[in-house]
Symmetry: C2
Subunit: 328 residues, 2 copies
Amino acid sequence: MTSTTLKKISEVLGLSISTVSRALKNHPDISEKTKQKVIELATTLDYEPNANAIHLRTKNSKVFGVIVPSISNFFYDSFIASVEEESRKMGYSLIILQSSDNAEIELNNLKLCRQNRVNGIFVCITPSTQNIQPFLRLSEFNIPVIFFDKVPEFEACNKVCLADTQAAIIAANTILSKNKKKVLGIFGNKNMSITKKRLTAFEDAFTLKKNILHVEYAHSKEEAHAITKQQLSLKHKPDTVFCMSDEILAGAMKAIQELHLTIPKDVAIISMSNGFFPKLYYPEITYVETSGYKLGQLAFSRMISYLAGSTFMQELTLDCILIEGQSI
Amino acid sequence: MTSTTLKKISEVLGLSISTVSRALKNHPDISEKTKQKVIELATTLDYEPNANAIHLRTKNSKVFGVIVPSISNFFYDSFIASVEEESRKMGYSLIILQSSDNAEIELNNLKLCRQNRVNGIFVCITPSTQNIQPFLRLSEFNIPVIFFDKVPEFEACNKVCLADTQAAIIAANTILSKNKKKVLGIFGNKNMSITKKRLTAFEDAFTLKKNILHVEYAHSKEEAHAITKQQLSLKHKPDTVFCMSDEILAGAMKAIQELHLTIPKDVAIISMSNGFFPKLYYPEITYVETSGYKLGQLAFSRMISYLAGSTFMQELTLDCILIEGQSI
DNA sequence: ATTTTTTTTGCAAACGTTTGCGATTATGTT
DNA sequence: AACATAATCGCAAACGTTTGCAAAAAAAAT
């Protein structure tokens, strides 16, 4: 069976297509009697309007595009989950594309969004994305692009970010206030602006106690694991480990378990995190919250305000708070 | 600027719309010269075909719908990630909807899929879904529905599942082969068919050593944590813990850390898992792999074969394998 | 009974494509 | 030069809606 259309209903009822259309949207022009008839037949025939036809006709797809480096990732997941919730509430659907950390696929995903005439795009660029002109060009077609989390460093565009600087400062100050003597700070990919921001702020906070801070870079859980294991095996080992991200935290924690160290007695640990991982461990890890969920809400509200007319570039920042566990 | 259309291109070039259309798809009827001209203008004008118009005209949306209880979940994530990959390769897009464990929202998501005239639906029903008729009815409109993971228990439909029974047996046999004396088995929601399957098979495997198995049910990480803590605090405590899922594993591990027990010396642990969590701990946890990623691939291939004509109901099963860590 | 007003409905164009078929133009053959 | 053939191209309908406007029908007013 092919799906029901307005035409089919109109033919059965001997009405015009337009009357059926109006009846179904409760247009005041249509009499109650015909409305009744139409609605009844529509439900028995399981009528569902063809979204493509509507979008074509109204030039409004009611769809947002979301482009992320990877779907199976805590942070992006919770971001997507919140954007999806908000979108559904407002009658929007989501097309979700993952770029697999590949700039070429990313570009193709962008193209897909355009072909679908999405009303807006949320994008977190991959670390390897060099050219963001294709994204910026979309504004010429009046389709807003909200960059989130990993955002272009220099270009003027709509950005929604965590307060990375603030978050790093909070973490650093927490460590300093506990009078720690030797801190291992593990950061991510040195080339990413997010790493730079966090690192700079973190180091600045340690400016008076520069000598107690040792910084390392890890590009994966495994590297974080190796670094932590190695550093914590030194005779003069760190008394505190700071992890820039959940991934790094996971690696570090594995090393700590491996070395049978007790937290926070043998070593203290503090992280920046989406909130899920820290609660996995005992004692629970103290962390500066970098909530993908909240960031999603912020990004969505920015999208809505953009669509409502506030089209000038804005850089929004999500405040971070310290969530205390018992790890430091 | 409004987006470029075939019409616009045709007007600039003094050609007909159909010629432009054909030129862009490299139709043999069109001369090389005009193809050149058309393609050149199209690229400078940044032409992207309107997917809605194409779908309307061709009656083929090239879109699959994915409906899951929740997006931010390891298992569903990896499922979605793999379906997304495969889909992109074959020129399909994905509309991803989450039901938030709410049957009503789920139904609405189904409606959205229909309105978008998706070519097929992957759905994992919520635990509270009672009536799956609306799903089954879609086959009347020739749109295939592939149920995965949490599938309807009785109805004839296309199902793609993990080999839950086999997986539970593997886990049980692994425990038995190690000559364990007291086993705590923690299972999930008793009402879900997936729990029943796993539990039945697990208990059957212990049929000769019934007395060494103690079963508990946990509906969350926190419950799993509490149960494990309580059981492992007994004087005659279990020497082995089996966890039916990642979520339960996470709770159990937290309790084990809290009690400062050493794995596998003080207590052994084995789980069913997607594979991410077990590698988070040291020593790594031995688990029976229940891969969302592989399940996604299986589901996708089923979808493709359905679309290719094999429309009879099938129940596919993904073999499970034991991944050895050092936890038992 | 006629006109006016109000209520109810239908016509037709438009959204941007694709595609069968016919028309035009160019090329080749005698 | 006349014709046949092949290479290019355009017309127009269709996909399923929405919507301004006009038309028809019913109700109200004279």
